[in-house]
Amino acid sequence: MTDAYIFDAARTPRGRGRRDGSLHEVTSLALSARLLNAMKQRNGLDGHAVEDVIWGNVTQVKEQGGCLARSAVLMSDLDERIPGLSINRFCASGMEAVNLAANQVKAGAGGAYLAGGVEMMSRVAMGSDGAAIAVDPALAMKTYFVPQGISADIIATEYGFTREQADALAVESQRRAAQAWEEGRFAKSIVPVLDQNGLVILDRDEHMRPGTTVDDLAKLKPAFKDMGEVMPGFDKVAMLKYPHLDRIEHIHHAGNSSGIVDGAAAVLLGSREWGEAMGLRPRARIRATAKIGTDPTIMLTGPVPVTEKVLRDAGMAVGDIDLFEVNEAFASVVLRFMQAFDVSPERVNVNGGAIAMGHPLGATGAMIIGTLLDELERRDLSTGLATLCVASGMGAATIIERV
């Protein structure tokens, strides 16, 4: 079987996902097309150079609906023979795009792919595409559906994480992200967002709050306490599923959960032969990929079993991994990951994560693969593992290895 390699990875800066966010004025289509154009220019992808564009995106309605991937290809300077595939595995959509592309390359179905994703959360509100699992009584009751914030709090309760631990992790995420920007660690991958005149709209992650302290965070009110304990009372639903729990500890708030942002990311993958033909040097090999379904109520525990699975599939052990990217959807997700594998915080999210910089749902999975690769190169390490928790109880993971 052919191996799949990463030749390039790039991302836009992340804009605050609100009306006053810098990217709010940019359409999902335009942001996608400009990033695709950057990938074309950086790698000389003229003509029918890649097999497909696989584009992760969660809220596929309005401008993100109607197969945004195809629209983005047509809007970009890519050849129209490159089709475009929009996919949705919630928060792992961007990673799943990379993994799908890699696995098709491995199977010989095409020499190369552009994979990644976009989410303009300031423009297309999270959840506005509806979801049967949240409202259809038949499924919501069958799966003991609770919103993600409640799930994150259940993880904290079940595995014994305190508000202080969660806040400390958030503060460290901010510190690391600020330091990474200061030292230019993201420079290789950041594609500034320009307007049609070439004027800069955004060239830096703007969600960050450098200098945030534990005392600052201690002032924030738990975000999911009311919906859990009062109206409509999701804690009771959780108790039905987990009858050994007396109460749910509501430790999460805006400061230790991922930020709502706009952004896009892309990865160029292909076979070694394709790279040679194109004159491109592979940066890393996709060592293994995995996805898994997990308990939908606690929902966000996927990174643990999917990491076990991807390691097993790759014949590796946790100790073989140099650096980890574990998406900071909520602090408890990362705390649980480190607890389960007993890995040092010094090897996890070393340049900060979504708590500091934000989590553009459909893009993040591709984004953290790029971040991981940049850092492996910077530190001259070999192997990295990226993983995300996924809504409705799923997980996804990718292991990359520098070549």
């Binding site: 009751m141 009372g233 039905l240």
Partner: protein, 727 residues
């Protein structure tokens, strides 16, 4: 038999009158529905008819569907239920469309409902299909859809029509809680249109004046949008998101009807009206075919009503109570005096001091004041009720009482004393009842000069709220005493069961093992949270630890000591006592002491399980599966019920089921312990009991009766339920 008749008058109004012969309340049968269907066809086809008024020939409109009809449908399987329900939908839809052109929505005949009084279930679903609903200004009338209370949901369009009319949020109390309203409140809630002095006259006036547009329901008009938003409207999305969680929280996920109802609303909201009705019919069919619905209808409706009407009353003349004597004005005595006075009975309330007797009467005043503050009672009514209670220390005042209920301290000596004192003054034919909850009736009867007139009437606390009364026959209790007790219970509008005398009678006999099993698990190091939640997840209103906190750990310890003394070496509950005596010693006596298995704040509000339990009873490393905990808690009760039947304490399983639900809240969704065992099947029940016995002791060994039933493939209702047809 004709349930519906029609008269057409000179002005062109056809009045259809519902008046089921031989019944005090109208109920709808399938034959009745066919009659109504034919009359509607006739009126719609008759050019001389301009409009139709549907009313009742009785003081009330209708009590609902004839539940025997539902039982009959169920015999035919899912297809028969679905077809039967769809035929009702067709009839009601015909009324709603009233002959109008489906495109132009013109040319229909106005149809109004005129409700003289109560309108429940189909008695409201039929009016909801009409174009306008007029109710008489009758504050006693109850209007609503109580189906959910007996394990089903409004399945003749009530769910779809109300949710479309009011929106999911506003319809929720009416549909999901089965809330009943008087006409004024029903109008405010949007269930009916007008409250008038003469609904038939108002309905006539309305049909004569109505225009085409008045007949078009919002959901049949162009551009209909569900009030509050459908599931994909942002506001509607939040409503449905929350509704699922709230229903789960309230029902603990064990009531299939609430889930099905919500599905019918959710799925129905996304399609046209006729499709929504078909969806409603499919969910209704599923619920009706679910054994839980049948069991709930049987116990909470059919059996309960039969028992209240005296199913097991001996054939002796009317024994209604005219003057009641209550001995002991404590919590129970005062409560009994109150409910009797409230039902119009003269009461003499006696205690050893005037102060205590007055305090007992004040208890009644307190309850009445609450009613007044909630605008359910008037000062006048309060004065009336209180005037019926004579609080005194003078036994001579008992002269003329035809029933005595003794509710003094649970001490045989004290009881014997007051029995003799009372019998010295009451008429020779008076019946003497004791409200003991723990002492054998036949023993207490020894203090009576007339043991055949001596009986147990066991009330539950708080007396004014608890619906069940347990009547206990002593060895020598005569038939007239039983009839007296039953007639008294009927007067005070509670539900009686009649059992034979044995330790703890029926209810306490089953509750105690439930509580004990919970306490035993605490001693074993089972996570107390799991114990409590396991019970709640089975539909028990209170976990065993909360229940014993409520009823008092002190009382539990006292009962344990007495039982231990009575049983000697055979006493099986050492493990329970170890925990309960330790709690008692630590002063954790239950909620009254603001300390028990739970912690309480200074105001006595429960704060969660007491953290000290973990220190005293270290958490076992291996925690049991939820199902095992649930089986222990449920079988502790159910096997005791079987033993009560086996030993002749219970003589009618309907009493065992109704008594369990009303007496201690036994998982109502099951229809009671016998209903639950029938759902499991005797064979499976024996299997579970044997496994429990192997792990946890002989108290779980299946009784011979259950083994026999398993061997023969019998069910309890198949074998013992001759009078109690399953719905």
């Amino acid at each position: 038999m004709t349930d519906f008749t029609m008269e057409k008058d000179a002005e062109g109004v056809a009045t259809i009158t519902w008046d089921v012969p031989g019944k005090s309340m109208n109920v709808l049968s399938m034959d009745g529905a066919a009659e109504l269907d034919a009359l509607i066809d006739d009126a719609l086809a008759d050019d001389a008819v301009k409009g139709i008024v549907i009313t009742s020939g009785k003081p009330d409109f209708a009590a609902g569907m004839d539940l025997n009809v539902l039982a009959g449908m169920k015999q035919g399987g899912a297809q028969a239920v679905f077809d039967g329900v769809m035929s009702l939908h067709h009839l009601l839809r015909k009324i709603e469309r009233a002959g109008m052109d489906p495109k132009t929505l013109k040319g229909g005949k106005p149809i109004a409902a005129a409700l003289p009084g109560t309108a429940l279930g189909i008695g409201l679903e039929l009016p909801l299909a009409c174009h306008r609903i007029f109710a008489a200004d009758n504050p006693k009338a109850k209007i609503g859809l109580p189906e959910i209370m007996v394990g089903i949901f409004p399945g003749a369009g009530g769910t779809t029509r109300l949710s479309r009319k009011l929106g999911a949020m506003a319809a929720a109390p009416l549909l999901l809680e089965g809330k009943l309203n008087d006409p004024a409140r029903a109008k405010a809630a949007g269930a009916i249109d007008e409250v008038v002095a003469d609904p038939v006259a108002a309905a006539r006036d309305w049909v004569l004046a109505a225009q085409d547009a008045d007949l078009v329901k919002p959901w049949d008009a162009k551009g209909y949008k569900m009030p509050g938003g459908d599931p994909w409207h942002p506001a509607g999305f939040m409503t449905f998101l929350g509704a699922n969680a709230m229903v789960m929280g309230k029902t603990m996920g064990v009531y299939p009807a609430a889930r099905a109802l919500l599905s019918a609303v959710y799925e129905g909201a996304q399609v046209d009206f006729d499709t929504a009705l078909r969806i409603e019919a499919r969910w209704f069919t599923q619920v009706l075919m679910n054994p839980s619905a049948g069991n709930m209808i049987r116990s909470l409706f059919i059996s309960k009503e039969a028992l209240e009407k005296g199913a097991n009353r001996p054939d002796v003349p009317d024994q209604r109570v005219r003057k009641l004597g209550v001995l002991g004005a404590g919590m129970m005595g005062a409560g009994i005096a109150h409910v009797a006075a409230n039902a119009g009975i003269e009461v003499v309330l006696i205690d050893s001091t005037q102060e205590a007797a007055d305090r007992g009467k004040a208890h009644s005043a307190g309850i009445l004041d609450k009613g007044i503050s909630r605008k359910k009672l008037t000062e006048e009514k309060k004065a009336q009720v209180l005037s019926r209670i004579t609080a005194t220390t003078d036994y001579a005042a008992l002269n003329g009482c035809d029933l005595i209920v003794e509710a003094v301290f649970e001490d045989p000596k004290v009881k014997a004393e007051v029995t003799a004192k009372a019998e010295a003054v009451i008429p020779a034919d008076a019946i003497f009842a004791t409200n003991t909850s723990t002492l054998p009736i036949s023993e207490l009867a020894k203090a009576s000069a007339r043991p055949d007139q001596f009986i147990g009437i066991h009330f539950f606390s708080p007396v004014d709220k608890m619906a069940l009364v347990e009547i206990i026959r002593g060895r020598e209790t005569g038939e007239r005493a039983v009839a007296k007790a039953l007639d008294f219970v009927r007067q005070i509008r509670k539900t009686p069961i009649v059992v034979n005398d044995a330790r703890f009678f029926y209810a306490n006999r089953c509750i105690i093992p439930y509580i004990n099993e919970g306490i035993r698990m605490v001693g074993e190091g089972v996570n107390p949270v799991l114990i409590e939640n396991a019970a709640r997840l089975m539909g028990m209103p209170l976990g065993p630890l909360q229940l014993v906190d409520e009823t008092s750990i002190e009382l539990g310890a006292r009962i344990a000591r007495a039982t231990r003394e009575a049983m000697g070496d055979a006493y099986p509950d050492e493990a329970v006592d170890a925990v309960i005596f330790a709690m008692e010693k630590a002063g954790r006596l239950g909620r009254k002491a603001k300390a028990g298995f739970y912690a309480y704040d200074d105001a006595g509000k429960r704060q969660g399980l007491w953290e000290g339990l973990a220190a005293d009873y270290p958490r076992a490393a291996d925690q049991p599966e939820l199902t095992e905990v649930q089986h222990r808690l449920m079988f502790a009760q159910a096997l005791e019920a079987v033993r009560a039947l086996e030993q002749g304490v219970l003589t009618d399983i309907r009493e065992g089921d109704v008594g369990a639900i009303l007496g201690w809240g036994f998982a109502p969704w099951t229809g009671g312990p016998f209903g639950w065992l029938d759902m499991l099947g005797a064979e499976r029940a024996v299997e579970i009991a044997e496994a429990l016995a192997a792990h946890h002791g002989d108290r779980f060994a299946p009784p011979a009766l259950l083994r026999d039933m398993a061997a023969r493939g019998d069910s309890f209702y198949g074998r013992f339920g001759t009078q109690a047809a399953a719905a």
